[in-house]
């Protein structure tokens, strides 16, 4: 898997899936939902986020509902990775399942500021702030998760298993 390098958007603790993709847009196509991502906490985010950016958050990111629109909409906005002090488990699994890189690293939110660059090696669970050369080690992903991520998500995995079945 390639090294991920991107500009940081920073969010706080307990960012829940209702805030990431509000319930009122749930039945809308993802291309519409993405324009409302995180609008209640940072209305600029969905408008100004660029392809290849990294989302950084505090504790318990993605708590709440099992809606897969949350990681989907972040991916649709061009976010390459979500890094947080800790994650709610369903969001974490859903991100892996759709091929969005995620890494938990305790207190990472204190080591970077918004707009700074983060370098991320997912396989080694290592991340670096090139500005001050501070390196941190996150919680390594299980090989099962890395396998799904390296294929690009579960849809690709299903294609491999069932794509030629008629």
């Amino acid at each position: 898997m390639k090294l991920i390098k991107g500009r940081i958007w920073k969010f706080g603790n307990d960012i829940n899936t209702d805030v990431i993709t509000p319930g009122k847009y749930l039945a809308s196509p993802i291309q519409e939902v993405k324009d409302h991502v995180l609008e209640a906490v940072n209305p600029k985010f969905a408008k100004e986020v660029r392809k290849g950016d990294i989302l950084l958050a505090g504790k318990n990111f993605g708590c709440g509902s099992s809606r897969e629109t949350a990681p989907q909409a972040l991916k649709a906005l061009g976010i390459d990775a979500v890094v947080a002090d800790s994650f709610a488990r369903i969001f974490f699994r859903n991100a892996v399942a759709i091929g969005l890189a995620v890494l938990a690293c305790p207190s990472v939110s204190q080591s970077f500021e918004e707009g700074e660059i983060m370098e991320l090696n997912l396989e080694k669970a290592e991340l670096k702030n090139p500005k001050n050369n501070i390196s941190l080690k996150g919680s390594p992903l299980a090989k099962e998760m890395l396998a799904v991520l390296s294929k690009g998500g579960i849809t690709a995995l299903l294609k491999e298993l069932f794509g030629n079945e008629k």
Partner: protein
């Protein structure tokens, strides 16, 4: 070394002798539940080239989030779900006149002790009240389960809450759960399994247990177990779709933490906006005027919830300054509330009764909030924007607290209404 309920069920489901906390394993799923989420699963199945589902006896679908469809988009979602049900021949499809999944799936006998269950809904943990290892997953993972019957799991560590004593009158299992959130935070059980135990757990009704297992996910948990007992067996008589064996944790099971809670001390609890663990006891709250009161949802829309609300509202009127919305969790609950006269008491008090559905709980409809409005609700989440406007506020309480608040137009202690009757 013995095993916790999570370890036992995951070991059995992956055909192993032992499952150690922290290890990853691939397990055979016993039941897969989808609601409108099937709309999101279907295109993944199609794109993945899946033409047959793994086992039609083990797949259940219904419609509960937008019932009946309040918008054209919701109607389109339902249309896709119906198409998927037809195309794949999904046998157990309960459609619009059943109710909320977490009430209906147990009522229809699909949930039995010891099963491993996944659902496209975070509150799938509800089935832990029956001794099932049940958890929420997303669309992609559900597509994988529907195609293969398998999914990988991390074997979770377990936290055991030893809840001792009796809840005081007017205090419900919802208050106890909110108290745990306040005391131990919404992250206490992140990636972990919970076993709710102790004399309070044993003494609780199955409905009250379901409320706590339901909200186990609000403590971060993957599973939220009660040890199944004769109450579960009795409920399943004539309902269970399959035979089952009772399952219990080993006496020497390894717990990450055992937390003891004295239940009798707890008074009604309120979660303030916008996190479930932002909790205060009602006596510490001060005056909070509310515009809407809502009793319903998979958390607290069962018959005992409607009954305590009716006990409080009997012969009284809902304040002119708010609207009270009551939504029974299922058609079985709805019918029982009708037969026992509970609905009439609620209607006489001025409540609006809607058909079983998730409704305003997640912002789907039937009572959304305008900017600046406040709602006291018996639901599971008070997140910003959860019930309509991002500038509205949701407070969480028990159905008894919601009923008392509906009378006063502000968040109110239900005990004064109940104690008078008991005296």
């Amino acid at each position: 070394m013995g095993m916790t309920l999570a370890q036992k069920i995951l070991a059995r489901a992956s055909k192993r002798q032992m499952a150690e906390a922290g290890e990853y394993l691939v397990a055979d799923v016993d039941l897969a539940m989808t609601h409108e989420g099937l709309w999101g699963v279907y295109p993944i199945l199609k794109e993945g080239g899946v033409t047959r589902l793994w086992n039609l006896e083990r797949i259940v679908n219904l419609l509960d989030h937008w019932v009946p469809a309040p918008t054209v988009q919701a109607a389109e979602t339902h249309k896709i779900v119906r198409q998927a049900v037809k195309e794949f021949g999904i046998r157990y499809s309960y459609r619009e006149n059943a109710g909320i999944c977490h009430q209906v799936i147990p009522e229809k006998g699909h949930v039995v002790p010891g099963d491993l269950i996944v659902g496209t809904d975070s509150h799938t943990t509800t089935y832990g009240a029956f001794g099932a290892a049940a958890t929420g997953i997303g669309f992609s993972e559900m597509a994988y389960v529907l195609a293969t019957g398998k999914l990988w799991f991390r074997v979770p560590e377990t936290i055991r809450f030893e809840m001792e004593g009796d809840l005081s009158p007017g205090v419900m299992s919802k208050d106890l759960l909110l108290h745990l959130a306040m005391k131990y935070t919404a992250e206490v059980a992140q990636y972990r399994s919970i076993e709710f135990a102790g004399s309070a757990a044993k003494g609780m009704t199955l409905s009250s247990r379901m409320t706590m297992s339901n909200m186990a996910v609000e403590l971060g948990a993957k599973f939220g177990f009660f040890e199944p007992d004769e109450k579960v067996e009795k409920f399943l008589e004539g309902r269970a779709k399959k035979t089952f064996q009772m399952v219990k944790p080993d006496p020497d099971a390894p717990y990450e933490q055992i937390l003891r809670v004295d239940v009798w001390k707890i008074e009604p609890q309120i979660a303030l906006p916008s996190n479930v663990d932002n909790v205060k006891s009602i006596s510490q709250l001060g005056e909070i005027i509310v515009d809407q009161a809502f009793i319903g949802s998979c958390t607290n829309g069962r018959i005992e919830d409607l009954r305590i609300a009716a006990d409080i509202l009997r012969g009284r009127k809902v304040s002119n300054n708010l609207r009270l919305i009551v939504i029974p969790a299922s058609w079985e609950v709805y019918r029982e509330a009708l037969k026992t006269g509970i609905l009439e008491i609620l209607i006489d008090s001025g409540a609006i009764i809607c058909n079983p559905t998730c409704g305003p709980c997640f912002g789907g409809g039937m009572g959304l909030l305008a900017p600046g409005e406040r709602c006291i609700a018996s639901i599971n989440r008070n997140f910003q924007g959860r019930m309509g406007s991002s500038d509205a506020e949701v407070y969480l309480g028990s159905p008894a607290t919601v009923a008392a608040s509906a009378i006063e137009g502000r968040i109110a202690d239900p005990r004064k209404y109940l104690s008078r009757r008991m005296a």
